[in-house]
């Protein structure tokens, strides 16, 4: 089945130690999104790619960066994680940037900070 896969499912890192989360997709969608979801809250969009065109949300901290080396893969890099960055990180894809295109989500990576 075509899908969005996030690795790892659980990630533990130390305060200030860089960490990278991975997302891959077999849907061949040209848009990929990264969301941060804290406990009992709605997902919050961090940034997204339309092909290789990167779009950052205005309130996304500089500590968060992303790379998309090809259509299938997208990475979320947290340069110096703080305790407030502990959350579930969700990757999603959509087929095109027209309004109304549904987004397809992976199962997420739960990040813990020690």
């Amino acid at each position: 089945d075509a899908m969005v896969i996030q690795n790892p499912r659980y990630q533990v890192t130390q305060f200030g130690k860089p960490v990278t989360l991975s997302c891959s997709q077999t849907l061949n969608h040209n848009v990929m999104y990264w969301y941060q979801q804290k406990s009992s809250q709605a997902p919050k969009l961090l940034f997204h790619y339309y092909d290789k065109d990167f779009n950052n949300e205005a309130d996304t901290p500089d500590n968060f960066q992303s790379r998309r080396p090809n259509t299938s893969f997208c990475f979320l890099d947290i340069r110096s994680p703080g305790l407030g960055d502990a959350a579930m990180y969700l990757c999603a894809t959509s087929n095109g940037r027209e309004v109304g295109q549904p987004q397809h989500f992976g199962d997420g990576t739960r990040l813990s900070i020690l």
Partner: protein
């Protein structure tokens, strides 16, 4: 500005009972509306979507939703709830920002199902 309100943070129903989850939206144009479900520790799964046409939309897992423009609502319903429906439900509005397709989510409703 667009926004989504889910007035109920928690709802508990008995297995077999009917369910209605409320969603109100604010959007200046024709809304593109979605309901997603999130089981514990999982990502979001699309239940159904509304763009235009018939205001009663059928989705997966026996869910349906009704769009009411006059009330700015898009409530999710299921006639008979199963224990496996216990999860968090998010209503969302699709919109264009900077030429790109985005979603804004409500805060979610957590559904508990009693046996």
């Amino acid at each position: 500005a667009q926004s989504v309100t889910q007035p109920d943070i928690h709802i508990t129903v008995s297995e077999g009972a009917s369910l209605e989850l409320r969603c109100n939206y604010s959007y200046g144009a024709t809304p593109y509306l979605f309901w997603y479900v999130q089981s514990p520790g999982q990502g979001l799964q699309l239940l159904l979507k509304y763009f235009s046409g018939d205001t009663l939309v059928q989705g997966i897992k026996g869910f349906e939703a009704e769009f009411k423009r006059s009330q700015s609502s898009f409530n999710l319903r299921k006639p008979s709830v199963h224990w496996s429906d216990a999860a968090e439900y998010f209503c969302a509005v699709g919109y264009i920002s900077g030429g790109y397709n985005k979603l804004i989510f409500g805060a979610g409703t957590r559904l508990a199902v009693h046996p």
